[in-house]
Amino acid sequence: MLNFLFRLFLTFNSTSLLIVVFGIQGQYIIEWERINHHLTNMPDWLSYIIYFSIPIILTLISLWWSNLLDSDSLEKTNGKSKITDIEQANNAFLPSYLGYFFVALSITRSETLWFIFAILFLFTFFSQTLYFNPLFLLIGFHFYYLTTTNKTKIFLITRKSLKNPDNIDLPRLKRINNFTFIDKTH
């Protein structure tokens, strides 16, 4: 159950930029006077920055939340790494994200936005790409595909920069789903 909610949350984080882009494109700005009548002549870009910071804050919350997930490990045993192959996946998100942005930029009505967002959300949730949140890159994470010595391929989110499979030691992982793991070693 916890895991299910977490995956919903991650999906929201990785798709929420669509809403941010839509907000910026439609020039929806925060009505500052309504909050406090002293706040007048606030620049538009401040609203945009606040919109953009919401997914970032949610992503930071998701990192904290991931501590509660099931533990896992891929540590070395007797000095031998359990990884045979590494493939960098940082740029894999780009095509799909460009897609999101163009969709958001061409939507004019908010009903359309919510409908498109719902569809995207569902597809992102059910495909295993919900972890492709580019905001992870901003806070120093990298994405990798790892192949284990038993030939299983997994997706790893880590702060480490991985190059040589023989040196990989990941004693503290958290399992997001059966395919995706996040590294908690510091």
Binding site: S73, L74, K82
Partner: protein, 281 residues
Amino acid sequence: MNHLIAQLKGTKREVKTFKVFSDETVYDLPIDLDNPKTYNSDYKLEDDEWFHIPDFSNSSYCVKLLRMDFIAADYNQINTEQLKKLNYLISYQIHDGKEYYFFQNISNSQLIKKRWFKSSNTPTLEKDVPIIIINDIADAIYSKEENILFFKKLTSISSIFKGISELYREATQTETEDFLNEDFILLEDGYEANKVGAANRKRIAMAMSSFNNFSSHEKSQIHTYIKDYCANLPFDENNSSFTIKSEDDLKHLLWGIEQRYYTTPIGQEKRVANSISKVEN
């Protein structure tokens, strides 16, 4: 990190290995794994003893999981439906940097489907939430570094390691018949091969190999030996044969072939050993 893995019942094509949870020490490593015994169905273990099979990964009983690297991330997370089909548990644990696999067979008695509640400040009745009982001592322990399988009871691990029950061999019907047809055995009172139970079949399987290695002189020595100890087994001097009328008679004869009878040096008391092991010097 330690991991608990579940192996399910099912057909060959299904995925049957799943991860249960991680980062918990499910079993304690026993301190009495040193000085293990080679398996012998005639030997009854003391509480602090284990049987062992050395070079286990090369034996035909070994499961595939023990031959591979252990990688918890390879296995999918188990769900409630799958837990109902639990066959056995494997706890992968690191003790002093060495890898150990603890096996526990899950019989119906360990999968409790009754109603229950936790003894806590806020007890609530739980229905339809089966619980799985972890034994204090695992049924088998595999040390990867030493490549040894330790176990206490062969019957509890025979569904985990396929074919391992052959260590616990019973004589087949033909072997039993052949044995009972030996010249030194005379059957009476309608006792025959079909009436030989599992315990005696195991003894026959053991005794046959000892008996076939005896020379004719040794065989007659055994006859005298059995006569001395088993007054209840009538011995026909002309045919040099023992009369066997029941399971009990056969048991006494088989104990004789295994040379289980002895006399205490002090007090001259005649005894039978119900468990034997070789004294290593």
